[in-house]
């Protein structure tokens, strides 16, 4: 008997030729036969893969749950991690996370004031959720952003409304990651639109050349070289007495970097707009900025939303590179949390913890981008 194909499984009972037992044509057994055991090779691969998966899962569960150490006696300097050391290799040391999660999430922010960065994280997430909903895509959104970012600034710096001031050196953890990513994109996006528009100015060769050089130069070098530039070369650029702190310098480097990548995405969207749209706008007698703002950009940006979100995900992940120039973002606090002799060697646990946080943010964005792509495609495919 020939193995049932996917079509046979769905059409099976309706087909007049198919005289197989119903349970072979539809239902779970048919599904298994079609999708897991359709041929000798397929069966062998399924069994081998299943064996590997089951054995890995079992040993992981053993390590992460069964043999894991959830708590150790003592805190701070007097902590006794001998239980973790004894279980090393067999069991995870989640006691590290219990002891250090405040540090990993909020860095050296004063302990009693850590509700402030926690609230800031909530505001950031709410901001993302609102911006993702299409019913909020209008002009008022810019106002919401402005208000939210000011509230975030007040909460983080303090010094007003009875909030004790916290100097910027003590900020750290998840908040830094979110600040770098959000402000990076918020400033890089308008920049990238200008650069992308400049890149397409055939009547202004000098402007076009400037934009091409900017895009190609930035895209040709790794982000690290820009961050190094921000950390060691930037102070040389400024006149004496003028000093910008490290976080802002890194932020500028990230904005310049993201701007070049986003510009290429926006350019792709601009290129996809048919020439007739430009000509129609010209025929209406619109000025260049009216034409661009009212006719071209709304269409071009709509096309480029899915790749834009993908670039945002990339930027979110790339903020972790500031670790290399010594800024305490989420990844760096995790790395630092295992520097104390008592906790040395438990990096894997710390990294798994922050990996879960990064994954939640990036996975949500990537799922959103896929859904949006489907949604926007619906409009075009009539």
């Amino acid at each position: 008997m020939t193995p049932p194909s996917a079509e046979a499984a769905t059409l099976g009972s309706a087909s007049a030729i198919d005289r197989r037992r119903p349970s072979f044509a539809i239902g779970p057994i048919a599904w298994l036969r079609a999708n897991l055991f359709s041929s000798w090779l397929s069966t062998a691969v399924t069994l081998a893969l299943a064996y590997v998966l089951v054995s890995w899962t079992l040993s992981f569960v053993n390590w992460a749950v069964v043999n894991a150490i959830w708590d150790v006696p003592g805190t701070g300097q007097q902590v006794d991690t001998s239980a973790c050391r004894a279980a090393r290799g067999e069991g995870a040391c989640w006691a590290l996370i219990g002891e250090k999660y405040r540090f990993i999430l909020f860095g050296l922010y004063p302990f009693d004031e850590q509700w402030r960065p926690a609230l800031v994280v909530v505001i950031f997430v709410a901001l993302y959720v609102i911006s993702a909903m299409r019913r909020f895509w209008r002009k008022e959104l810019a106002l919401i952003w402005l208000v939210a970012l000011s509230v975030i600034g007040v909460l983080m710096w303090g010094g007003v409304f009875g909030l004790p001031a916290v100097e910027q050196e003590r900020w750290g953890g998840l908040v830094i990651t979110l600040i770098l990513a959000t402000f990076g994109i918020a400033f890089a996006f308008p920049l990238s639109i200008l650069v992308a528009l400049g890149r397409r100015q055939t009547s202004m060769p000098a402007v076009k050349a400037l934009c091409v050089v900017y895009i190609e130069l930035i895209r040709g070098v790794p982000l690290i070289s820009l961050l190094f530039m921000a950390s060691v070369m930037f102070p040389l650029f400024l006149p004496e007495g003028m000093n910008i702190d490290k976080l802002l310098r890194a932020q500028i480097a990230i904005i310049l970097f993201a701007g070049a990548y986003l510009a290429e995405v926006v350019r792709g969207g601009l290129q996809a707009i048919p020439k007739g749209q430009y000509e129609a706008a010209d025929a209406l007698g619109l000025t260049y900025w009216q034409k661009t703002g009212l006719i071209i950009l709304p269409q071009a940006l709509k096309i480029s939303i899915p790749p834009l979100v993908n670039t945002f995900i990339g930027m979110f992940k790339d903020t972790s590179l500031v670790l290399i120039i010594g800024i305490f973002d989420l990844l760096n606090t995790a790395k630092t949390s295992v520097i104390e002799p008592a906790w040395q060697g438990f990096g894997v646990e710390a990294y798994l913890f922050v990996a879960a946080i990064y994954f939640v943010f990036c996975f949500a964005m990537s799922k959103y981008s896929q859904d949006l792509e489907r949604e926007l495609d619906k409009g075009r495919k009539r």
Partner: protein, 401 residues
Amino acid sequence: MQTPTTSDPRFLRAPPRRGLALSWRDPTLRAIFWQVVILGLVGLGAWWLVENTMRNLEVRKIATGFGFLQREAGLPIGESLIPYSPADTYFRALTVGVLNTLRVAIIGAVLATILGTIVGIARLSKNWLVAKCAAVYVEVLRDLPLLLQLLFWYALLQGLPGPRQALNLFGSVYLSNRGINFPWIEWQDAHSAALLALSVGAVATWGLSRLFTARQMATGVRPRLWPWAIVLLVGLPVGAWWAMGAPFAINRPVLRGFNFRGGGTITPEFAALLFGLVLYTAAFIAEIVRAGILAVHQGQWEAAAALGLTRGQQLRLVILPQALRVIIPPMTSQYLNITKNSSLAVAIGYQDIVSIANTTINQTGQAIEGIAIIMMVYLTISLTISLFMNWYNARMALKER
């Protein structure tokens, strides 16, 4: 458009040629004005920065120029492809860094392409379990920062037991926190000759394959390639090795004191970097390969199946050549990415160009020169890869009449 042969009288008249009117309404004049303004502003900004930098360099008494390249570096480098000692110059140290970058980028690109293609095809597999595993792999690895993955692998390798309690695989491969130690042949001239013969054989096989394809096009019969391939790819190297006296001695790693001696070594830094880069990039390449295969029309699969090709033959002979046209352009940016991402090596202590240039900056204080070197190296590599891939893309492109 407007040709002398047009019979339409409207086109016979030349369009009115207007001179440059000295008016704000003239678009040409406006364009020139704005360009002058923008270039002026950018130039002014650049001049301001250069001016500040010059003054700062003077105040801080920092030397300028690339003279430091000829000075003794005095910086130790763990692994190097060319002979190097701390007594060598900065120039040689930086060359070692470039070679280390290229080493991890090239090996990484090859491995990531292989793994990515397998995962991309696996994601389209009819076997549900295989497809789901590939999907989970792609989703998880793509959504975690590469630097996090590198630190994770490095922490995992650092967590291995020391050389004395090294894990032993297959008899004489040792896995410890000092890296992977494995037996390796005692390298002699005969082996180099064999390697050379192998590359000659590969080129010859490729030429022969093209010749046979031409023959197939002319006569419809393809001569058998594989006997020739065996002679060229196996016979030639073995022959060369035999002619040079067939030396063969295996150098096994042995524990001496606190570390292994002899055999080949892969340092934990290199292993973590390569592993992280390959796994991360392969996830992106898998998506590119999958999209490329999906872009080939379903009818092509059906037509190939109707010709009686097996599924593997359908993929290899019909689908992949067409998918490659969609795959190559995004693949180029992945190769560029793997090269640029190899710069994260500095975080785990693999001495690539960024790491060595960074040390150079710290030792000499010449930040501008150091960063200029890093940027020039990456721009050169990026440009070379772009040119090569553009050439390859043009070769693979659809030949339209």
